[in-house]
Each structure stands twice: as C-alpha cells, then as structure tokens.
Amino acid sequence: MLRFWKKRFDEGLKTEGLEVDNEIKKIKKDIKESIKKRFAGSLAVRMVDSGSCNACEAECNALSNPYYDLERLGIYFVASPRHADVLLVSGVNTFNMQDHLIEVYEQLPSPKWVITLGDCPFNLSSFDKTFAIKGEVEKILPVTHHIKGCPPEPSYIIKGFLEFLKKI
C-alpha cells in the first residue's frame, strides 16, 4: 500500500471543476433553508436503467472517479430507493421494465423528485418506437428535470443536478 500512497502524494489532487463547488456554495446559500428541511444537507439519488444502452450508466459511474468526485458536493448514489430523494431514470422505458420502474418510484419516501437522464427517456434518442418500447417517462412519472445528451458527459450531469436544485 505504501507505493500507492507515494503515487497518490506525488500526483496530487486530480479533482477538477472547483468552480462548480463555488457555484453550489452559492446555490446552497440560496436554498439553504429548503435543503436543510428536505435533504438534511445532502441529496440522495437512486438510479434506474429502464432500457438504456449502458452509456449513461458508464457516465454515472464516472461521476465517482477522482476527476469529478461527485460526493464532495453532497450528492451521492444510494443502493435502495427507500434511501433516496431523487429517482434518476435513463433508458427508453421498455415494455418489460415499465412496471418495475413504477414500483421503484413508489418505494421512494416523499417528498420525491424524478430526473430523466439522457435523450432516451425524453425522445428515444436514435430509436424508433416499437411494441417493446413504452417511451415517454413523463407520462407515467412526474418528471421535474431533464438532463439531455447522448450520453450526457459527467460535467454536464453535475450541472444538471445544480439546475435541478435551483428549480425546486
């Protein structure tokens, strides 16, 4: 392990986008009261893939890498919908996933919000509507915010979260 720590100290801090920190500091100040009341200072996100190609998932995983380190902003992904404030939905909402998606949403404690991620849940991206695609997550869940892109890059997802915080 010693050589890991040596490399770690030699290379220094990798995290980028410190200006985002300042921005969230400002937003936090603005909505301090409501965040305190609603999220106890941190935002818990549960992600569900409703039929995506796995690129959106890969970008969400990338949010935890040392370059972005999303958790420092107080936003983190949780393992159960029952721990979450926000449901993050990617994918085209397939025939086979729709029931499970609604079930997950019902498991979230109130107050709860839905954010859609990537073009798929919004306009199916390049896909056409088939019998196996239900599409339009908006029609079955109350979507508060949409983060566009195919897939949205990690820095864009972070900005999306900030915009969402401003909205509510």
Binding site: C53, A62, T94, F95, M97, S126
Partner: protein, 454 residues
C-alpha cells in the same frame, strides 16, 4: 464445432432456421402449416436461449427441448403474439400478470434469493434467482431481456444506411465494435474492399475501446472484493482514455466514429499517452500482485472448466481465461500488427483478472502499430441485395452480425452479442462458492445486458 448462433427468418411462404457454426452454416426450411423443428440443445446447451427466443419471436416449436418457458416475453406480454413474423401488426397491450416459474432446486433447508431486476449499484437491469443452502450457492438462473427494445424489428424496412445510428447504440460500451462489424457488412454488400488505412483506424479504435472496458473492469473486480483504491486508480485511467477517445472521435464512447473514413489526429501526443497507460498498468499489476488478501478472494473463485467452456460454446475473455483459443483477432492482419493470443488455464476470477491485464498491454502494443494508418475513405457503391455477416472481437468477445437486404431495404437484422452466449455459462461458475462471491464472479465476466437483450 462451436455453435455461434441459431436464428430464424420469415420468408413469407415458409420459415427458415439458420444455424451458424464455427466453420459452416446450415439452413433448414420449416413449413408454416406445422412450424416444428428438432432442438439441438442436447449437443449444444447454449442453443436453449436461441430456441426460446425463436419460439417467442416466431412461434416455432422445438422438439425435444428441455425448457419451453418464455424468454423475451415477460409476465404481462400477451400469449400467441409473434412480433418477428412479417404479418405482425405492431400492437402489443399489457396482459394479465402470469408468474414466471424459476428453475430452482427444492429440498429441506434450501431457500431462494431473488436479486433484481433493479440492482443496488449503477447497473443495467437483470434478474438472478439463486438456490441457496445457507451461504453456498447451489444453482443460479439468469433471467434477462428487461431492456428488450425489439431492435431487430425496429431496423426492418429501413435502408441499410439508416440503420447505423440504431446499431451503434445497441450496447454503449461496445459501440465501436458494433459499428465496425456493421461497416464490414456494408462494404461487403457494396462489393468494395475497406482501404487499409480505414481498416487500421477502425482496429485502433476497437483496441482503444477494449483498453477502456478492461481497465474499468480491473478496477471493479478488486472493488467488489472490498478494495476501493483499485477502482479509484482505474476509474481515473478510464477517464483519461475516454478523453483521448473524445479527442479523436469527438465522442466519449465513439458514437458516430466509424463511418468508413480514417481521421487524422496528433499522433505524437497520442503515442506518449499510450506509453503512459502501459506504464500505469504495469505499475497497477505490481501493486495488486502484492495483495495476498485480494488473491485469496480471486483464486479458485468462480471456476469455469475448459470442458464446460467448450460445451457451452463460450467466447471472449471468459473462454480464453478457461484455456480456449477463441479470438476473432487470430488472423494475418492482426498478427502482423503484434497480436498475441492471451490465455489462462485456471478459469477462475484470478485468471480473468490476469487475462485482462495482459490483453490491455497487448492492445497498447497493437495500437502503436496501427498508428501508421493513412487518411483514406471508402467510396460506397450501390448496395446489393443478399445475405451478409460479420465477426468482430469486441471487448467482451466475439460479436456476430447478420443482415439480409431485399429490394434495397433491410429484410432481417440479427445480432448475437458475446454476452448472449456467456450469460448462459455463468451458472456453471457458481458451485462451491458463497453468495457473496457472486458480484465478484459476475464482474470478472463483465457481460452486457443491453447487447444481450437487444
């Protein structure tokens, strides 16, 4: 003789079953009045998902099949609706919920654990049904097709060029491999050879995709054994390679990257970068090699024996870690550019981990050779009707695409993701392991859900 795929076509007047083996193709006509054909699952157990899928899609029955449950159509999918038939009207409504009967082991003290389709991490949907005897796994049934988008049907009736944008998004992490395989089909159909410059450029991008996928996996395997620093290190490297991929293709996953032309970029900077990645991976290997507690988890966990890998027609990393020589890159073009077949013997998590390390290093060596590509462009002529197929070694394993063009439009598209085969072998890795080892075993194979489900 390895089974590659088994699928069906609707020829209007009859059905046709196409069996693709490693070295031959067999076509069988099935009359519509009595759509029954013999099952080949006795000899090729991995044919069972293909046959269940054909049954769901076309309503063709298989004589002597050991499993007749639905595969692609889930609990609320209407019965006797066959979407891949040409006369399908495109309408499917939710039906009454009919429970799916899982394949389980029964007995005193044996219990079941159901996991999914929504998992605890940021991961695609799929269901795993374990039969447990205390901590020990007795059996696992993998149930997928939650992300089933009916892509085969979606593409029918489009022009072959229109289909590219859908095919590149079948499985995001293998996008470049899918695009390369499809470009190969287009070039076959227009009877134009891919220029060497384009061939090398495509191969370079495929290897870069493999480097990303493998390094990502090298981080996640130790992470699933409770060693997070490895993920922190590898996810950082993955990010760096993704950014380079974006520099070259202007997309982090290479969507739209392979369209039949090679594009120039700063090769010196790129070469330095690939060399730094090589150094980092060697450093990473030394570091992980020194962790006895990790190897305690990796060694002898999730063993897939060579004879089972062979029996289940396994492909890709899973097959090579069990000692099989299954690699689509084993040809003159790749060998000339430094390809060396990587293999391991033990077939456990450790073997798949080591194999990935060696493959990343080999890929880096090949990328350096591919760098001397020329800027060229393929001039597509008219596309000719006919049947075309292509094989590409994606980061998971052998990818097979099939396209039938009729009157200039897509009549049938079929894709067999490497995951489709390997998922069927995963239950063989469970015996003798505890349920806590499952994430580790699953991650070491790192299969795609979206590519499998289509």
């Amino acid at each position: 003789m390895r089974l590659v795929a088994r699928f069906a076509n609707d020829n209007i007047e009859n059905f046709e079953i196409i069996d693709i083996f490693e070295d031959k193709t067999v076509k069988t006509i099935v009359p519509k009045s009595n759509p029954v054909i013999k099952s080949i699952t006795k000899k090729y157990p991995a044919a069972i998902w293909f046959e269940r899928k054909i049954k769901d899609d076309f309503g063709i029955k298989f004589e002597g099949s050991f499993d007749e449950r639905e595969l692609v159509h889930h609990e609320r999918f209407p019965k006797k609706v066959y979407p891949m038939r040409k006369n399908f009207d495109g309408k499917v409504e939710f039906c009454k919920f009919e429970p799916y009967e899982y394949e389980v082991i029964k007995g005193d003290g044996v219990f079941e654990v159901g996991v999914g389709p929504v998992h605890a991490g940021i991961i695609e949907p799929g269901h795993f049904q374990f039969s447990q005897e205390g901590e020990n796994m007795l059996h696992l049934e993998v149930r997928h097709f939650y992300t089933y988008r009916a892509i085969e049907k979606m593409i029918e009736g489009k022009t072959p060029f229109e289909a590219i944008e859908i095919i590149e998004k079948i499985s995001g992490i293998e996008s470049i491999a899918y695009q390369a395989a499809y470009l190969d089909i287009l070039s076959q159909s227009s009877k134009v050879e891919l220029p060497m410059g384009v061939k090398k450029y495509n191969a370079l991008l495929i290897e870069l995709e493999r480097v990303i996928h493998h390094i990502n996996n090298l981080g996640f395997i130790p992470n699933d054994a409770g060693f997070a620093p490895a993920l922190a290190f590898c996810s950082q490297k993955v990010e760096e390679v993704r950014r380079i991929l974006k520099d070259i293709t202007s997309h982090r996953f290479g969507f739209g990257a392979i369209r039949g032309n090679s594009v120039g970029f700063d090769k010196d900077k790129f070469l330095n970068f690939i060399e730094s990645i090589e150094q980092d991976i060697k450093w990473f290997k030394d570091w992980i090699d020194d962790m006895p507690s990790l190897w305690d988890r990796f060694d002898t966990t999730g063993i897939l024996r060579t004879k089972n890998a062979l029996k289940y027609s396994c492909v890709g990393v899973v097959a090579r870690a069990s000692g099989l020589k299954t690699d689509m890159r084993n040809n003159e073009f790749y060998k000339k550019n430094g390809f060396k077949m990587q293999r391991e013997k033990s077939g456990d998590v450790a073997a798949r981990f080591n194999l990935r390390v060696n493959e990343v290093l080999n890929s880096c060596a090949m990328i350096k050779k591919f760098l001397d590509f020329d800027i060229e462009k393929i001039e597509f002529g008219d596309l000719h009707d006919g049947e075309y197929s292509s094989f590409v070694e994606s980061s998971i394993g052998e990818l097979y695409l099939y396209l039938k063009i009729k009157n200039g439009l897509v009549d049938r598209f079929f894709a067999r993701d490497p995951s489709f085969i390997n998922w069927q072998a995963i239950h063989l890795m469970m015996s003798g392991n505890i349920i806590a080892d499952f994430p580790l075993i699953n991650k070491s194979c790192d299969l795609s859900y979206a590519g499998n489900d289509l």
